[in-house]
């Protein structure tokens, strides 16, 4: 327990220190890189809630990431073009206000997760992986073929959305917004993992029969976890789109789902802070290896293979050992 807490603290400290140093030495690119890591971490923490705690191997989390992105894109698009989002049954305007956009992103992605989960969770194992992948592809092709919001070209936002009292176009200020959100999400997820719900959910991953024998139906647990998971990943999607001031169907692609899963596996499946380490490592590799060769994914693949074969617990398993039972 102690070692893991230490690692958590060190990880969060480094993640904060790098952009601060970059800010002082005036290297905005590094700050953007760190912001990407933080946002990916949130997405990974979201997937980990389903994958790590509930054992639901979802290859469709890009849906929620993309829906969060499009929630931001569509709201901001209507705000910047001064058009209404809808006229009937009541007139609704777009918005440039981040907190509202986040809430919408969370609401939309958790509802989508409820619907997708309700259907997908009737299957298990490989079938669950395939059906979540299929839903992901459905949303992807829908986004490509729907012309209203840019279709294949995506949707650009001129100016980053607003947060009261901050200049979000300043990289370090936007980084801080994302960093604080990551901290809040981690706190919530940590508490949930150690709550009544967390105890039963994680037991269901280990042994469904046991959970049923103590009188609880796994389906409701899984579905709730899947919705929470989707909501968190959706929030990350909204932040990511705002970082780039751009949203496109790529956010919905299965490659995105795969990348989010890589954060989780690299960091340590089922460890609360695992995806943070995974996302940070991913960004680091993308930056260093990506500088060496355009085909850096080959090296990433090799590293991933190494982790899966030799360090089953990911970075956290390697550095903090297996999870200690909490009393």
């Amino acid at each position: 327990m102690k070692r893991e807490s230490l690692l958590n603290a060190a990880l969060m400290a480094v993640l904060l220190a790098v952009p601060l140093v970059a800010w002082v030495s005036d290297e905005p690119f590094l700050i953007t890189l760190a912001t990407r890591a933080v946002i990916f971490a949130i997405a990974g923490v979201g997937l980990n809630f389903a994958l790590g705690f509930g054992g639901m191997v979802s290859l469709g989390h890009a849906v929620f990431f993309g829906l969060g992105g499009y929630a931001m894109g569509i709201l901001a698009y209507h705000a910047q073009t001064y058009t209404t989002l809808m006229d009937w049954p009541f007139a609704l305007d777009g918005t440039k206000m981040m907190p509202i956009i986040w809430l919408v992103a969370i609401a939309v992605s958790s509802l989508a997760a409820l619907a997708i989960g309700a259907l997908s969770l009737r299957t298990t194992g490989v079938y669950f992986i395939m059906i979540t992948l299929a839903f992901g592809q459905m949303f992807y092709y829908f986004a490509i073929s729907w012309p209203a919001y840019g279709g294949e070209d995506g949707l650009s936002i001129y100016v980053r959305n607003e947060f009261p009292g901050l200049n979000t176009m300043d990289p370090i200020q936007y980084f801080m917004v994302c960093y604080v959100l990551l901290s809040l999400v981690l706190f919530g997820v940590y508490r949930a993992a150690h709550s009544s719900f967390g105890l039963v959910l994680r037991a269901a991953r280990q042994n469904e029969d046991r959970v049923q024998a103590v009188g609880q139906a796994p389906y409701r647990l899984y579905l709730t976890a899947f919705a929470i998971s989707g909501a968190i990943t959706g929030l990350a999607g909204a932040l990511f789109a705002d970082l780039n001031r751009f949203v496109s169907p790529t956010m919905l692609s299965w490659q995105t789902s795969g990348e989010i899963m890589i954060f989780v596996i690299l960091g340590g499946v089922g460890r609360v802070f695992g995806p943070v380490a995974g996302a940070a490592l991913f960004i680091l590799l993308e930056h260093t290896l990506g500088g060496l060769s355009e085909f850096w994914h080959i090296y990433l693949g090799a590293i991933l293979l190494g982790v899966v074969l030799f360090a089953r617990g990911g970075l956290y398993g390697l550095l903090a050992g297996r999870e200690v039972a909490h009393d």
Partner: protein, 251 residues
């Protein structure tokens, strides 16, 4: 006579040509230990699964405390008070011993949709869990990871988790298996007292334990109950002797 806690009527189940349960009638009365014995492959575990809801019978009904629970899920039956232990230990292996017991107490209390409490600091749940662990003699191992327990200790933990459910009836699938002489002896003494709390349907291969504990015994052979009666009835039943207790006794 008092109403049975568990009443199984006309249960049939076949897998293709294999008849696993053939028109089974079985009941469990308050305060008794009803042992279910039979050779390997007789359909004992299949029967337990149908009673607890893991397997749907082809026909027949299961009544629990007078209620027809035939259509209910495993979880719903457990909430109504079926306390089951598994033949092959079915525990959350990554959890500590105490966590497994708390899981039982929490499942029984029912408020699992709480996301912000600290469940292992819940005094009521931990007290119930520790009490159950003490009863089976696992209290000193509460901090151990379940996967680090010995086979016998896992069997004990199975029983402890069932205890935390405060069930109306226990359904125990070979709780003595792998316990060793001393462990078995201990558990026999414990189950002997437990029947006052709730009746026990006991599947067991350890004949000494069965004869020491059972108020009634039912013998299952090829999916059919060939005899039900007291220990004396069963011991002297010629069908049972040839089918199960061994030919050498007859010879």
């Amino acid at each position: 006579m008092t109403d049975p806690v568990l009443d199984v009527r006309g249960l049939c189940k076949s897998f293709g040509g294999l008849v696993a349960s053939k028109n089974i009638d079985l009941d469990l009365r308050p305060g008794e230990i009803h042992a279910l014995i039979g050779p390997n492959g007789a359909g004992k575990s299949t029967l337990i699964k149908q009673i607890t809801g893991g397997l749907r019978p082809d026909s027949g009904r299961v009544y629990f405390n007078g209620e027809d629970v035939s259509a209910l899920s495993t979880a719903a039956r457990a909430r109504r008070g079926m306390g089951r232990t598994f033949q092959i230990s079915s525990l959350a292996m990554e959890y500590s011993v105490l966590q497994n017991a708390v899981l039982g107490a929490l499942g029984h209390r029912g408020d699992v949709f709480r996301f912000f409490n600290r469940v292992m600091k819940d005094a009521e749940l931990v007290a119930a869990a520790e009490h159950a662990l003490e009863q089976v003699g696992l209290a000193e191992f509460r901090g151990l990871r379940t996967s680090d327990l010995s086979h016998g200790q896992r069997r004990q933990l199975e029983v402890a988790v069932a205890l935390t459910l405060d069930p109306r009836a226990f359904l125990m699938d070979e709780p003595m298996a792998g316990l060793g002489a001393e462990g078995s002896h201990r558990l026999v003494g414990f189950l002997d007292g437990l029947r006052q709390q709730a009746p026990i349907l006991l599947i067991e291969h350890d004949m000494d334990a069965v004869f020491a504990l059972a108020d009634r015994i039912s013998v299952l052979v090829y999916g059919e109950i060939v005899a039900t009666g007291t220990v004396e009835d069963i011991r002297s039943n010629p069908v049972v002797r040839s089918a199960y207790l061994g030919e050498e006794d007859v010879a």
